[in-house]
Symmetry: C2
Subunit: 187 residues, 2 copies
């Protein structure tokens, strides 16, 4: 009956835990090099999310948690990443705790200023309100992290699907570099 | 600069992490057998809390986390426990994740109905709104758990300091038993 979180693996277990997966196919439009993405095996899993939400999304009354397992890899010169989102309730925050791997938390304000924080086992990250956030795996192993957020938060994936982030995390000379997009989105 | 959470030990580290301690002296009035508590070494540490609060208590905009290290031991036939609290913002929830040890999460509704959930390494616990909560260590080793809550929540320790819980977790025949208080508090 009870929900458990394995502290070493990030595995969330229990009958109330839900699972979702994002394949390379589901990430169409998220990478700079769409041709490279289209040539990959579309069924390859980019990431998997296990979530425990004691209250339904958008309804007050719980702190939710979810573990994301993000595969290593690149699409062109961009690291595998999560789609990223603003919060539907824009004044709601989030907390990320890295379990394993090496990654980057990419954050963007509403005026599209974009910055990043390095993620490594044990790192804890405050995501302020009104800040879009996505995660990239810059290592060779799966990146595993746990997110905590209030249940009323809700997710706005649409803004990022349409406009992207203000900068992309690209592999330049073998190392990650956050590079501002060439074509700023008009206001 | 960054805050880290050791997944195995629960240790929270970083310049923004605060520490507080509760000694046996500070738990005066919380146990049934006050004479037994008074005879103990008053400087003995019952528990220690390391907290990361990106926003000040009572102010919106962050998910906070804190690790509690609760020593094993008894006062009379009652296990060492945290003082317990309602939330000042009564509609705010909390989430507990056990790191190590063996404990009991004791919960109480506003009408003083009291129940418990077993805590063991990895167990995850939803604390609903309007529900007082405290933790008892029923094992031989330190009980370590991490709490997550929205920064606007605030803490009401006073109600529990005055009225206690509706039941006490006592050691009966070597095992924990949740025993309803003999003298219910008048409404």
């Amino acid at each position: 009956m009870a929900v458990t979180l394995n502290p070493l693996t990030g595995q969330l277990s229990g009958p109330e835990v839900t699972e979702s997966r994002r394949t390379v196919a589901a990430l169409k439009g998220y990478f700079r090099d769409e041709a490279a993405r289209a040539q990959m095996d579309q069924a390859t899993e980019a990431y998997r999310v296990l979530a425990y939400e004691p209250r339904p999304e958008g309804q007050e009354g719980a702190v939710c948690c979810a573990t994301t397992f993000l595969a290593p890899g690149c699409v062109g010169d961009e690291y595998f990443l999560t789609r990223g989102h603003f919060h539907a309730a824009q004044d709601r925050p989030e907390l990320e705790v890295t379990v394993a791997g090496e990654g980057a938390l990419i954050l963007m304000s509403e005026d599209r200023r974009t910055w990043m924080e390095p993620m490594r086992a044990g790192s804890v990250h405050h995501v302020p309100p009104r800040t879009a956030h996505r995660v990239a795996n810059i290592g060779e192993a799966p990146l595993v992290f746990v997110s905590y957020w209030p249940s009323e938060t809700g997710h706005d994936y649409d803004t990022i699907a349409r406009l992207g982030f203000g900068a992309r995390l690209r592999r330049v000379g073998g190392a990650p570099a956050l590079i501002v997009e060439e074509h700023p989105v008009p206001p």
